[in-house]
């Protein structure tokens, strides 16, 4: 039908001779196959890191926050750095599935499932840090608005830390239902293909009995659209509120009005970097090269270029204002001459090189379409964004209003261990996901196959009709009446 038209100049989003059935087979293959050796090796490393981190968490909680490297001056350090880093990474998933849905970017369909999984897993890591930092995590329920009789006073709704509680729990839970609703038809596909009874049972349970009625699809699409409309301001609000943790304080370098937009851009920047890190590997390992193409990598690199540009402008603004204010206190904020030449010069330059200079190479088309370079840049940005939060927190705190209390921060093995532990936990979750979940929203990809699949684009350009081209000889084992045997019957009867 004419509605499948897409300009021939657009790169196909699904390459190769893919039919609807091919999409099913390719998405189900990693789930139905067996894990190879490399998977087990990476999984074991991640598991060991996770267990090490768990040990450090148990040590922290049983002994006290004193086992960290915090001191009187630097009262927040790696914990909050890691918290903001993980929340930031958790921003790409919902951006891809919500904002890009509203903008009708079809390329999001190949990457949204994994990006959302990454979002949920990284917000889980982020949530761990404030809870551990409470020191008495069994009293974590005190952040809920419960009456005074339960222990503490009513919570303080003027505090940005409490806004965070609401923002992050809303974000995590809404992302989760958004993800799960999108998964239902794909779990149903796995369920209907499953041959082993146990697999069939599990996927029946996970798919909530999805049957694919026309009315279900109509509701499904409406729900997706409304959720996207709700999640778009939500994703912007979450990192805005995280930035309020700093911006509403009076610490030089934190008390800054550009924090909300700058944090949101930085979050999307780091989130897309992590999506690239994961998907450049996953497309190879799970044989999804036809769905996550060079074009997809380039689109994501363009988003990185845009958000990286916003972040760079924010850096320049902060640097200029620190100098222009003429205030002594601004001399040592994280973007200032004092920071660039002071004891934390290495952290300052790590930030500038990783987030400002290296991503500029993506202006060159050859480089942003190169898998290896994109992968390297994505890792560099991940590191740079960690340093951005480290700089904001540690450099700013290390030289405050009172010079006699100026000091440096050095992490203990526990600080490092918990951070590595969350990276391990994240990869444990993601690797399990990659083997048990449909990692591409196959039902959605099927809707764009006739408009953006390479085979169908070619058929259409050659002037052929696409009616009837969805058929696949492998799936048509005929039982019941068909045109051939009906004609045969009529012939026999006469």
């Amino acid at each position: 039908m004419a509605s499948h038209y897409e300009a021939p100049i657009r790169e196909p989003l699904v390459t190769g001779e893919k039919s609807y059935h091919d999409v099913t087979v390719d998405v189900a293959a990693p789930v139905e196959g067996r894990a190879n050796k490399q998977w087990w090796i990476v999984f074991s490393i991640a598991l060991v890191a996770f267990l090490w981190g768990l040990g450090c968490i148990i040590y922290t909680v049983s002994t006290g926050i004193g086992v960290w490297g915090l001191n009187k001056t630097v009262g927040w350090a790696w914990d909050i750095t890691n918290f903001v880093w993980w929340v930031g990474i958790g921003h790409a998933g919902t951006l891809i599935s919500a904002v890009l849905l509203l903008f009708r970017q079809k390329w999001r369909m190949a990457v949204n499932r994994s990006a959302e999984a990454m979002t949920i897993f990284s917000v889980v890591q982020a949530g761990l840090f404030p809870i551990i930092h409470m020191g008495r995590p069994w009293l974590a329920y005190w952040v809920l608005p419960i009456p005074n009789q339960f222990g503490s006073l009513w919570v303080n709704f003027n505090s940005p830390l409490l806004w965070d509680v609401f923002a992050i729990s809303t974000y995590l839970s809404v992302s989760l239902v958004f993800w799960w609703t999108g998964l239902l038809p794909d779990f149903a596909m796995l369920r209907d293909r499953a041959v082993k009874p146990f697999q069939k049972k599990i996927y029946s349970l996970l798919s909530f009995g999805w049957s694919g009625r026309a009315k279900d699809w109509q509701r499904f699409e409406e729900v997706s659209l409304v959720l996207a409309g709700l999640a778009t301001p939500l994703v912007l609000s979450v990192h805005t509120i995280v930035s309020f943790d700093f911006a509403t304080s009076v610490i030089p370098g934190w008390h800054s009005t550009i924090y909300p937009p700058y944090f949101v851009a930085g979050a999307i920047f780091s989130g897309f970097a992590m999506v690239l890190t994961l998907l450049i590997i996953m497309r190879k390992v799970s044989n999804l090269e036809a769905y996550i193409t060079r074009g997809h990598i380039e689109y994501m690199n363009k988003v990185i270029l845009l958000t990286g540009g916003i972040v760079s402008v924010a850096y320049i603004t902060e640097f200029f204002i620190a100098w222009y204010s003429g205030s002594n206190y601004e001399d040592y904020t994280y973007l200032s001459i004092g920071a660039a030449t002071g004891p934390y010069w290495w952290a300052f330059w790590a930030l500038i090189i990783c987030n400002f200079i290296v991503p500029q190479t993506l202006w060159i088309k050859k480089l942003r379409r190169n898998y290896m370079w994109s992968f390297i840049v994505s890792i560099v940005i991940n590191i740079g964004m960690w340093f951005e939060r480290f700089d904001i927190i540690v450099i700013n705190l290390s030289k405050g209003h009172l010079p006699s209390s100026w000091t440096m921060f050095s992490p203990t093995f526990v600080d490092v261990g918990i951070f590595l532990g969350t990276i391990g936990f994240f990869f444990v979750l993601f690797l399990l996901y990659a083997r048990t979940f449909p990692v591409i929203a196959q039902a959605e990809v099927k809707t764009i196959l006739k408009s953006s699949g390479e085979r169908y684009k070619r058929l259409r350009e050659d002037g052929n009709s696409l009616v009837g081209t969805g058929a696949d000889s492998r799936t048509s084992d005929i039982v019941g009446t068909t045109k051939e045997n009906l004609d045969q019957d009529t012939k026999n009867n006469s």
Binding site: W154, P185, G209, K215, Q218, V223, V226, G470, G480
Partner: protein
């Protein structure tokens, strides 16, 4: 009502769309269509009424906003007003700017979750629910149309096969 339906299976979405139009033109009643992915325009061609889930989301959002305002007004202004860092908390309107983030978050929280729960209830989706698609291929690359049968099996079979169905069979309605 007919207790039997005729099931026609198609293997292409465009063929299905043309078939739906022809079956409607011939004034047959389409009971249900099962598809592996949302086929654009199918609901309109079948004559399904538009869904009202978006309206429910708006109403749930209003509930969330009301809950947020009522809760924070009670806690911060009525039950236990405190002087926190010299910030005013003696009337709701003075303290309101600090409440905006949570007013927004709870609006989204209520709208999103209650809408999804409504969707799951209306479409009968929940854990341990048995799937009702009559053929497993309808989650892969086949499309199944169920048309109600009133002693017109031959005529309908002929029509459906003519519209490009690859399989046609009669089944009990469930």
């Amino acid at each position: 009502m007919a207790s039997k339906v005729i099931q026609a299976i198609y293997n292409d979405d465009d063929v299905l769309m043309l078939a739906v139009k022809r079956v409607k033109e011939a004034h047959h009643h389409i009971e249900e269509i099962y598809t592996p992915f949302p086929v654009h325009g199918l609901d309109k061609a079948m004559g399904l009424a538009p869904t009202r889930l978006a309206i429910t989301a708006f109403m749930y959002g209003c509930v969330g906003l009301t809950v947020a305002i009522t809760m924070m007004n009670f806690i911060m202004i009525e039950d236990w007003p405190q002087n926190i860092g010299g910030k005013p908390s003696f009337s709701f309107i003075e303290n309101m700017p600090a409440f905006v983030p949570i007013m927004f978050e709870l609006t989204v929280f209520f709208a999103a979750h209650l809408m999804v729960i409504t969707f799951y209830m209306r479409s009968r989706l929940w854990p341990f629910k048995k799937a009702e698609n009559p053929d497993v291929r309808t989650t892969d690359d086949h499309f199944l149309m169920e048309v109600s049968l009133n002693d017109n099996e031959d005529e309908l079979t002929r029509l459906l096969v003519d519209t490009g169905a690859v399989e046609v069979k009669v089944s009990e309605k469930h």
